[in-house]
């Protein structure tokens, strides 16, 4: 996994003042372009209902109003639409356990595939990886059929959060395994050998050598899984059909697809749905980048 070195290159041909200005102007222009949707999102969701108008989309709000957020969060009984609060919590109950489970599973897989290669593991690995590129449409029909049949301890998997957790954990195996395998491959074999001379077995090496070094790997994998599970729509909309169990992306899509919901409420809803992953990105952006690079295999 390569991340851009923090140090810019040392030698550089000196640039004229105009060249510098042109470079910065282009960069700032693009930055404004990328931030433009955020501007609309922010100002629209902060406007009061009286001042919301499609024809004044770019006007700043008169003050900070939270009406849109309250309506997007709690819904409106008179107008007859649900708020996103239930969906938001569903996403939390889905994302947290699924992220933790798939990180732990990926860590064990990565350990075996990097330090305990066996005959056939070089064939198994690409077969595993293929699973992260497939269009999930190609497994949806059997997935639904299977989840409908499974019923563990009275918990139906189809239409429920546990079903979605299972789905995300299984289809998360390839990427979590890949990231951990590449991460552990960088741990010097000498460390492992030293531990073995001290009498550590396969579990001991993991517990005393690899696992204590794993924190950055876990952070990268957990951020990656958190982001992709929180943002997933396809599995969510296929597996859950009851509004009470649907995650936030489905809730938002229903909210936005409804003609009775004002567009400022939709914008506030979009902001609510985006906030958790945005916060992760803002505070842990470096690790987000590393997951991104790992996604391109060689990285």
């Amino acid at each position: 996994m390569t991340t851009p070195p923090e140090e810019p290159r040392s030698s550089e041909r000196p640039k004229t003042r105009w060249q510098r200005i042109l470079i910065y102007a282009t960069l700032i222009f693009f930055a404004l372009l990328y931030l433009m949707p955020v501007y609309v999102l922010l100002v629209t969701s902060m406007k009061s209902f009286a001042e919301v108008s499609l024809y004044k989309m770019w006007h700043p709000p008169s003050g900070v109003h939270f009406d849109s957020f309250i309506k997007a969060w709690f819904g409106s009984q008179e107008e007859g639409f649900r708020g996103l609060n239930v969906n938001f919590m569903n996403s939390v109950y889905l994302t947290v356990p699924a992220t933790i489970l798939s990180a732990m599973w990926g860590s064990i897989n990565g350990y075996i595939l990097s330090k305990w290669k066996f005959r056939g593991s070089d064939i198994l690995f690409p077969l595993l990886l293929f699973g992260m590129f497939i269009p999930y449409q190609s497994i949806l029909i059997p997935l639904v059929q299977t989840l409908q049949k499974i019923n563990i301890f009275g918990i139906k998997l189809y239409g429920s959060i546990p079903g979605l957790i299972l789905t995300h954990v299984i289809y998360g195996i390839p990427i979590t395994t890949l990231i951990f395998r590449n991460y552990y491959a960088n741990v010097p074999t000498e460390l492992v050998e030293a531990a073995r001379i001290d009498g550590a077995n396969i579990f001991g090496v993991y517990r005393h050598v690899l696992f204590p070094l794993s924190l950055p790997g876990f952070v990268v994998v957990m951020i990656w899984q958190f982001t992709s599970i929180w943002n997933d729509f396809l599995f969510a909309v296929t597996v859950t059909s009851n509004p009470a169990t649907q995650p936030i992306t489905v809730g938002l899509n229903n909210l936005a697809g409804s003609y009775i919901v004002e567009w400022n409420v939709q914008m506030a809803g979009a902001l609510i749905a985006a906030l958790p992953t945005l916060l992760v990105y803002i505070f842990l952006g470096r690790f987000f980048m590393r997951g991104l690079m790992a996604g391109s295999l060689k990285g």
Binding site: P4, F30, I134, P135, Q137, K298
Partner: protein, 299 residues
């Protein structure tokens, strides 16, 4: 030697659950979908009478599917070109010892952390053209304000443009990724190469054209494959932003698949679309997978 043996068994045992899960949930399910695509299952109740390749014949004769395929080609080409060009320009500019590089990088990358559903909801309003009677809205309104009224178009409401509007939103979300890839690539090129060229009197443009771009080729290849398979699978964005559009001008195979399977109960048709999608993705991904895991093994 004996200890080694039980540990080998344990190591294989530890990887077995993943291998089984992937074997069933990826390969088994794909096989099942392929089987369904050969049957007569065209209503809610399964009907596994085999009909050979009839579903595929009908699919390729289907007007909507032909439009979808054309849309996918247009979308993929435009999306790839815009992401590669914008990503490369931004990376080259950011590589010029820029003050606030970290800030710019974060701004260009943050859209990647949010859901396609959020992106779709926001861009649906941004690219809402408004009407001649009531006035322009969204980007068209911004064009009016900036005196660029001649750039106004109907965006996704214009069947001739349709899918291009979706490309704009997708590029907004994904171009930061190519920027990050290219920037990492540029930082990996030893400075001595540039220095030597400068000593030989090469201009900055010549250095870019004859040294940097050829060395960035592997990165371009990775980006094309990763973005290409994303664009073949694009679904969420279309759902949240446009739906199939007028005359299916924004429709894509992934959308058609979900629509016809889970709304229309045409399971065998849905399965055959899924298999076509899978084949397209596999043609792109499998050579890449084999290539990257092979070269990795040599290291």
């Amino acid at each position: 030697m004996r200890r080694l043996t039980w540990e080998r068994v344990v190591s294989v045992l530890l990887i077995t659950p993943s291998a089984i899960a992937i074997a069933i949930f990826v390969y088994g399910f794909i096989g099942w979908t392929a089987y369904v695509s050969l049957t007569k299952w065209d209503q809610l109740l399964p009907d596994f009478t085999l009909v050979g390749l009839r579903n595929y014949q009908r699919l390729f004769a289907n007007q909507r599917f032909r439009i979808d395929l054309r849309n996918t080609v247009v979308f993929t080409v435009l999306f790839l070109i815009s992401c590669l060009v914008i990503g490369l320009i931004l990376a080259i500019l950011l590589d010029q010892r820029i003050r606030g590089e970290g800030f710019f990088r974060s701004v260009y990358l943050f859209p990647m952390s949010i859901s396609f559903i959020v992106t779709g909801v926001v861009w649906r309003w941004l690219l809402n053209p408004g009407s001649a009677e009531l006035g322009s809205t969204g980007i068209n309104l911004l064009f009016d304000i900036l005196g660029l009224g001649f750039l106004k178009t109907g965006w996704y409401t214009d069947p001739k443009i349709g899918i291009v509007a979706v490309v704009i939103a997708a590029t907004w979300q994904m171009s930061g990724y190519t920027m990050a890839l290219y920037l990492a690539g540029l930082r990996g090129i030893p400075d001595e190469l540039r220095e030597a060229a400068r000593v030989d009197g090469a201009s900055e443009w010549q250095i870019l054209r004859h040294i940097l771009l050829p060395l960035l080729k592997p990165i371009t290849l990775s980006a094309v494959i990763i973005l290409g398979h994303i664009s073949l699978k694009i679904y969420d964005l279309v759902v949240a932003m446009t739906g199939p559009g007028i005359g299916f001008s924004c429709d894509v195979p992934a959308y058609f698949m979900w629509d016809t399977t889970f709304r229309g109960n045409h399971f065998s048709r849905g399965a055959s679309i899924a298999i076509v999608l899978l084949v397209m993705v596999a043609v792109l991904i499998v050579p890449y997978l084999i290539y990257s895991t092979r070269t990795e093994a040599e290291l």
